[in-house]
Each structure stands twice: as structure tokens, then as C-alpha cells.
Symmetry: C2
Subunit: 183 residues, 2 copies
């Protein structure tokens, strides 16, 4: 949670920035002015930029706990779900959490590359599910984690405007998982 090697007052400010960013991202989307985030956190702009050099780094940080949850829930489902079902549920949860802030999905590809615990966890879990589904023979051998990020982005972008995201995400995951083809 806290960032290692940070002075106590600095860590306090860091938390205030995260709280302010979370509020503003929820209210007005992932594109709000960062100076405004600093202002709401009662912190100078320099402090914000020193701690989070880019908007994506801040997004990765505010998404950290959500991404951890997605990975953890997926690991917990492992025992009582078939590999393809586990992967499908993971995709749904990932997509839903990649659209909590408007305009987050568009930069998901960049955000997910940050080495925060949450991004690491979700990346590892994605790779694990991919491997497991391939071994079970229910997934194409040439599907990669990058493909997953691409698919999740597409779904999240499509879903951001919707008033009822959950069923729409389920529909789109089904569509892209099983293919647009009639069988």
C-alpha cells in the first residue's frame, strides 16, 4: 500500500493525491486537469508530478486495488471453474474495472505496463489463465496477453457510454471470446 522509502510526510501527501485523483476521475473521467487534482489534494503541482510523472502512472496507482481484486478473485475461482469459464470471467472483471473512469480504457495499454502490484498481478493472472486454457485445449495457441489487452480495451471503450455496463460487457466478451461467427 504505502510506497517504500518514502518519508512519512511524503507518504501522507501521496495518499492525499491518490484520494483526490480517485474522486476527480470518478466525477469527471480520466482526463481531468492534473493541476486540479493537485489543488484538491492541497498539494503543489510539483509534488504531484514528482510522485506520479505521468497521468498513466497516476491511473495505474488509483487502479491498483481494483486490479489486485480482479486478480485475487480470479485466483479464488480457479478450483471450481473450467479453464474457459475462468478466463471468460476474468475478461469480464478486467473490462468492467477498465471502465470505472471514463476515458481510462483508451490508455489501458499504457497503464497496464506500469509495474505497480496491481498491474503485475493482473498481468501474471492473465498469463496463467491463458496457459491453463491452452493446455486444456480450449484456447487457440496463438492468443497472447497483448491480444487480451486489446480485446479488453475495445470492450471497455464500447461500454463507457452505456448506462448498464454489466450485461453489455458480458455480451461483448461472449462475442469476442466465441467469435462473431455463427456456428
Amino acid at each position: 500500500m504505502g510506497e517504500a522509502g518514502l518519508r512519512a510526510d511524503a507518504e501522507r501527501n501521496r495518499q492525499r493525491i491518490l484520494a483526490a485523483a480517485e474522486e476527480l476521475f470518478l466525477e469527471r473521467g480520466a482526463s481531468v486537469s492534473l493541476d486540479e487534482v493537485a489543488k484538491r489534494a492541497k498539494v503543489g503541482a510539483g509534488t504531484l508530478y514528482r510522485r506520479f510523472p505521468t497521468r498513466e502512472a497516476l491511473l495505474a496507482a488509483t487502479s491498483n486495488e481494483r486490479f489486485m481484486s480482479v486478480a485475487e478473485a480470479s485466483r479464488g475461482r480457479d478450483a471450481d471453474h473450467e479453464p474457459d469459464d475462468a478466463l471468460r470471467r476474468f475478461l469480464e472483471a478486467f473490462a468492467l474495472n477498465a471502465s470505472v473512469y471514463r476515458s481510462l480504457a483508451a490508455s489501458l495499454g499504457t497503464v497496464i505496463q506500469h509495474r505497480t502490484p496491481g498491474c503485475n498481478a493482473i498481468t501474471e493472472e492473465g498469463h496463467r489463465l491463458l496457459r491453463r486454457a491452452k493446455e486444456a485445449g480450449v484456447l487457440r495457441q496463438d492468443a497472447s496477453f497483448d491480444d487480451i489487452v486489446c480485446v479488453v480495451s475495445a470492450i471497455s471503450i464500447a461500454v463507457e457510454k452505456e448506462s448498464a455496463p454489466v450485461p453489455r460487457v458480458a455480451h461483448l466478451v461472449d462475442l469476442l471470446f466465441n467469435g462473431m461467427r455463427e456456428r
Copy 2:
């Protein structure tokens, strides 16, 4: 090509803006400063904004011919290709042309809604292919044109960083069209 009801000098300026924008978009991506576009076109900023009120309007205009080509080529393929193959090729061509400028893909959803000839043509052709594939029973009934735009955007975004976009586009279209499942 020329815009109806425009004074001759205004139409000349409009063409100069389009040429300058095309150059700069190719060189440095779809996010270049619009003032710089105006400067290269040797035109005041006001002139640019009067003719193209938003960046997306300008992008729709510079993409016009490419979009026309995509639609036309697709229509030409109609006779000697099965409905699913025709749709797949259309998706590939659309995605490739939605990534000619870096960062164009991110605003594709907005760009495509402009009522330029190219946007109209590509939208109509998309609907036609969708209908044809559904009638032939090779496409799920619940796939929509919005789904297509969403999928094409995601593919184009994913592909913008690649050095070899063509095979990657083909892979992603195949993946999303046929599904991630082993069959």
C-alpha cells in the same frame, strides 16, 4: 471533392489546409498542433477553425479518399468472395486505414460519425456486409456496426506501435472474428 457553395478563394485555402494537415498527420501523428497545420497551410488559425471546427472534422476530411477506397474495394470484391470472407477483408482494410496516422484510431468513433462522403461510404458498406453475412447465416444476429467500429479501433490502437502492422491486423481480425476458442 470541392465543398459546395464555397467562394473560389475559400476553396483554395481549404485544399491547402487539407494538404498541410495530411503532411503533418503522416509525419507526426493525428495530435499535431492545429495552429501548426494553419501555419504550414499559410492560413490564419481562424480560417482553419472556420472550415474544420474540430480536429475530428479535419481528420474525417483528410481520411475521406482513403475511406472511399476501402468502401469501393469492398464493393468490388462482392462478386467473388463469400460473405464472411468479404467482411473479414473489409475489417482488415478498415483497421489498416484507421492507423495511417498515429493516434487516429483513438478518435475513430467520433471521426466516423462525420457526414463526409468517405465516412458515409464506409458506414453504408459496413452495414451492407453485416446484413449480407447475417442473411447467409455466417454471422451472429446480434453483431452491430458499432461493434465493428469498436473492434476496429481497438485493433488499430494495438497496431499503431507495431513495425509490421499488416500481419498483426490480420491476426487480430482473425482472432476477433473467429473467436479466441480452439475449435
